[in-house]
């Protein structure tokens, strides 16, 4: 199986080459995306088939010669392979249609398969070199994709911040691996697993791994690149970046912390929980303020990464205390949420892409009424929005429900830090979930409902069949995963077993397909039944009323309390919709401030409202750093314009200093 997967990677790379060659021909698109679709499906099947099988290894004579390139396919890798295969297949299918709108296919086609290949290689890698190689390759390829629309405003900055942060992440992981490998250079994971780091070393590895994987995943405060880079890329790539690449980062974290390092320490769980909680809330708050559809989705990705990390933190907390059943539950929840997020975030990015190609804008304030112009897209977008808002019976709810169950599992952990963090994280998670619902009401309500806010939106045309097919498949998967969460949980079980040597009870054994993390009397959820109830009740109500009471409908102008205003501008906009929440949360977190400039009576100028928002993370962390580098660069720049005498003085000084050092040494 592993050789098949490796062949797929090779085929993807070949596809990248072909893409470079055929980029400017129409066949290139079909070739690249069609090929990627097929290969991703193969990967998906291979991943599914390998979930339960034993670990497979293969070593290729590539990379560092005295190590070789170690590939390993275990349950964890297989699980993420499924994720990549699924996300990649969806994106490729979508792109088969969406790609037609690309202005510069030569900037996308060569890098798209390479990006996929990079991600697959990351999960397959079984030595530090190959891992980082693939990790950086993934970053580089996606950077090139981010730069696709390079002449658009902001793309340059997005690409810059993205690749810089990606490299920062790579270098941090490099340091972490350096520590794990030790002075002897045991770069293969097998020898790292043997050397259990302890004490300060372990702490250092953990911190580095968290920073490294976290900055790629989008953990606050290392998330700043994400809302810039994800929207800049073409939509199917955004879907991959948000839906899949962040998960690959999560994979990296899991691989290092749970697999390579051995057991965690309790304070590490506290750190992860704290980061996860803050990330979840900050991400969604930022999403609430955004009016660029894709940026909004990217911010929401930050939120979901936070949720996943909360799950991982819980797993660590329970593992530390030897409570394997709980750890398994939390880990399952985290992985399931990762899977779900791939589904609905890809779906939402697809819809954003469809909207973009239909209207030519990503600005929420210029959309509206698309439910009439693009009915299928609207339906799937609604499914996506409801799924990401964690509403039953869709998949987002199922995984968040599991995380809530994990939070509630053990209030009696011995460590004070965990005692405190668990409920706080529960509250943050609840807050994030509620805000996410608000955020996606806003997205769908402003974007698809109401009246068109621009001519482009008024004349939008439904997108092509491939795009719709991709979206429909993902919407269906969202629904299926919500209805049968037990199947997903059981599928994840081997991964959890591998990591924690324990698993959740088998779920599919229940005749009603109810999921019960610990016991049915304690907590249980049956998505299928709830969905059936809702459908049945809805049908009963609708049919009953239509039969028994009235079914007459009369179309009439908008009533609007008797004061209808025909102009769409009188509608609530995205900004006005978010205003209450901006006032409540934004004022504290983002120093959001509104200034109203009201003309005096008699003046003819329009009244204006101006809102300002500061990103606290940027202000507190990045701005000073940028300032420092700029200052240092400015200060050093003088050295470019010195006279030769001064340069000679440097030589002289160096000589004297070294001689002095020599005398001291002697």
């Amino acid at each position: 199986m592993i050789s098949l997967v490796a062949l797929c990677v090779l085929a993807l790379l070949v596809l990248a080459l072909l893409g470079a060659v055929t980029a400017l021909m129409p066949v290139g698109r079909v070739l690249v995306y069609g090929g990627s679709l097929v290969l991703c499906l193969v990967l998906l099947v291979a991943g599914l088939a390998s979930l339960d099988t034993t670990v497979q290894r293969v070593t290729l004579p590539l990379g560092l010669p005295w190590i070789g390139a170690h590939l390993r396919l275990d349950a964890l890798a297989a699980g993420f392979l499924v994720l990549i295969g699924l996300g990649g297949a969806g994106a490729s299918l979508f792109a088969l249609g969406y790609g037609r709108h690309e202005h510069a296919p030569q900037r996308v086609l060569p890098f798209y398969p390479a990006f996929l290949a990079g991600m697959v290689l990351v999960v397959l890698a079984d030595d530090a070199f190959l891992f980082l190689f693939a990790w950086e390759l993934m970053s580089l390829a996606s950077w090139a994709l981010v730069m696709t629309d390079h002449q658009a405003e902001g793309t340059a900055r997005a690409g810059f911040v993205y690749l810089l942060m990606a490299t920062f992440s790579g270098l941090t992981l490099l340091l972490a691996f350096g520590l794990l490998a030790g002075a002897q250079g045991g770069y293969d994971f097998a020898s790292m697993r043997q050397a259990h780091p302890t004490g300060l070393l372990a702490a250092l590895v953990f911190v580095l791994a968290t920073i490294g994987a976290g900055s790629k995943a989008g953990l606050v405060p290392l998330h700043v690149w994400l809302p810039l880079a994800h929207p800049a890329a073409p939509s199917h790539v955004s879907a991959l970046m948000s839906g899949v690449m962040t998960k690959v980062a999560v994979y990296g974290f899991i691989r290092i912390v749970f697999d390579l390092m051995g057991g965690p320490v309790w304070w590490q769980a506290v750190v992860v929980l704290a980061l996860g909680g803050v990330t979840a809330v900050l991400g969604v708050l930022q999403a609430l303020m955004e009016h660029d559809v894709k940026r909004l989705l990217a911010c929401s990705t930050i939120e979901n990464v936070g949720i996943i990390f909360i799950g991982l933190g819980l797993a660590m907390a329970f593992q530390v205390n030897g409570f394997i059943a709980g750890a398994a539950l939390a880990m399952t929840a985290a992985l399931f949420h990762a899977f779900n997020h791939t589904l609905f975030k890809s779906l939402l990015f697809f819809t954003a892409g469809s909207v973009l190609s239909a209207t030519g804008t990503r600005d929420l304030e210029r959309l509206g009424g698309l439910i009439h112009r693009m009915p299928p897209t609207a339906v799937v977008a609604l499914v996506g929005c409801m799924a990401i808002s964690a509403l039953p019976p869709l998949n987002g709810f199922a995984s968040e429900w599991l995380i809530f169950q994990a939070v509630l599992l053990r209030p009696d952990l011995p460590q004070w830090g965990l005692k405190f963090m668990l409920p706080v994280d529960g509250a943050l998670l609840a807050l994030a979930a509620a805000l996410a619902a608000a955020c996606f009401v806003r997205l769908f309500g402003i974007g698809f409902l109401g009246r068109p806010r621009s001519p482009a939106a008024a004349e939008a045309q439904e997108v092509d069949r491939f795009s719709i097919a991709a979206m429909a498949v993902f919407a269906a998967l969202c629904l299926l995963a919500g209805l049968f969460p037990g199947a997903a949980i059981d599928a994840i079980a081997p991964i959890v077993d591998l990591l924690l040597a324990g698993r959740m009870p088998v779920q599919l054994a229940d005749p009603w397909l109810t999921i019960a993390p610990i016991a049915a009397s304690r907590s249980s959820y049956n998505g299928l039944l709830v969905a059936t109830f809702i459908v049945v009740s809805t049908t009963i109500a609708a049919v009953g009323i239509h039969r028994l009471a009235s079914r007459a409908v009369r179309r009439a102008p908008i009533w609007d309390c008797g004061f209808p205003d025909a102009r769409p501008i009188t509608q609530y906009s995205g900004a006005s919709f978010a205003q209450p929440l901006r006032r409540i949360f934004g004022a504290v977190v983002f120093r959001a401030h509104e200034t109203v400039d009201m003309p005096a009576p008699g003046e003819t100028r329009p009244a204006t409202i101006r809102k300002t928002i500061h990103d606290p993370v940027w202000d507190a962390l990045y701005a000073p750093l940028v300032g420092l580098v700029t200052w240092a660069a400015e200060a050093m720049n003088v050295l470019q314009f010195l006279t030769i005498r001064r340069y000679l003085a440097f030589v002289f000084a160096a000589l004297v200093v070294l001689l002095l050092a020599l005398t001291l040494w002697q």
Partner: protein, 329 residues
């Protein structure tokens, strides 16, 4: 033969449970307008008005259902489907709450978190429906609704946590069973949770001081602003859903904090009568107290609501923290 008899008995038992389950569903649906009517009546009496009859809500519903629907020109399918969905998910949520009996046939298909989420689903769709026509009022209502929800939902989750941590589960039937037992005792965190739950319930049901179900003054509306464009049977469904939701919350409070009279699903038939009577009593008391509350306080400005709900959130969090620190609280 023995096997078949056993199977038969099982089947009969299952049928019985099914019947009880349906009875609860039907009762919830049937009684909810009455509860609304009672609240209105009591409120009117407290305000020294005669007030409409307690069955007025039924009449309203009948009248509304019989009328034709006036749809705005640009209403989408979502607008038309929403009322039914809102109704259905609220109803399903309500039937998951043990009203007079615990351990019903389908009670395990969802726990307290699911109930909260189902109510959330209804609100999600309602907010969307409010924005469908593209009026300023619809947007206003939706915007404020999600603002309130964004605080009320976490508060509700904190209450759920509180209760779940005490009872060791999130399954309402089990919680109710636990609350009936001696193990509960008096706990600070439970009291906090109760206060928080009442605040949340008031907010969720668009009651004074958060919202006024009777007002149609534009700038103070929240819930009503969202449903302004609805008419006829659609409006009927939404009104009915509101009533069911009110009933849901009163039942929920009753089930958790006053689990007196709740019977277990496998109890003899006769016990159900007691259960139902106890439930009716709880509803009556709850409705009266709500009316008293609504009469005695004034409506808040919209931007004071966050503080109000924030208090609930903090209370809930405090309760949970206390529980994490010490099981005895």
């Amino acid at each position: 033969m023995a096997v078949t008899e056993a199977t038969l008995a099982e089947a009969m038992a299952a049928l019985g449970s099914l019947l009880v389950q349906f009875l609860q569903m039907a009762l919830v649906l049937a009684l909810s307008p009455l509860l609304t009517g009672v609240v209105r009546k009591v409120k009117a009496r407290l305000q020294r008005r005669q007030g409409a009859s307690v069955i007025q809500p039924y009449r309203d519903l009948r009248r509304l259902m019989g009328k034709e629907v006036v749809l705005a020109d640009n209403a989408s399918w979502l607008f038309r489907v929403a009322p039914y969905f809102i109704f259905a998910s609220t109803w399903v949520a309500a039937t998951l709450v043990p009203t007079f009996a615990t351990g019903l046939l389908f009670s395990w298909s969802g726990d307290l978190i699911v109930i909260t989420a189902l109510v959330g689903s209804a609100r999600f769709v309602q907010a969307l429906a409010g924005m469908d026509i593209g009026t300023s009022f619809g947007g206003l209502g939706a915007s404020r609704e999600v603002m309130i929800a964004s605080l009320a939902e976490p508060a509700m989750m904190m209450i759920v946590f509180c209760v779940a941590l005490i009872a060791g589960c999130t399954q309402l039937s089990t919680i109710a069973g636990f609350m009936l037992s001696e193990a509960v005792g008096l706990r600070v965190s439970l009291a906090l949770a109760l206060v928080a739950l009442i605040i949340v319930a008031v907010a969720e049901n668009s009651r004074i001081p958060v919202d006024n179900p009777a007002t149609h003054l534009e700038l103070t509306m929240v819930h009503e602003a969202m449903v302004l464009e609805y008419s006829g049977r659609h409006l009927a469904m939404i009104e009915l859903a509101s009533s069911v939701k009110l009933l849901l919350y009163v039942s929920l409070i009753g089930c958790i904090f006053v689990p007196v009279g709740l019977v277990h699903g496998s109890a003899p038939r006769a016990a159900y009568a007691i259960g139902i009577v106890a439930w009716l009593a709880k509803l009556a008391v709850g409705g009266t107290l709500l009316a008293v509350l609504e009469t005695s306080v004034a409506k808040m400005r919209v931007f004071r609501v966050p503080n109000f709900l924030g208090a609930a959130l903090m209370l809930g969090l405090l309760g949970v923290l206390l529980l994490f620190v010490s099981r005895g609280m």
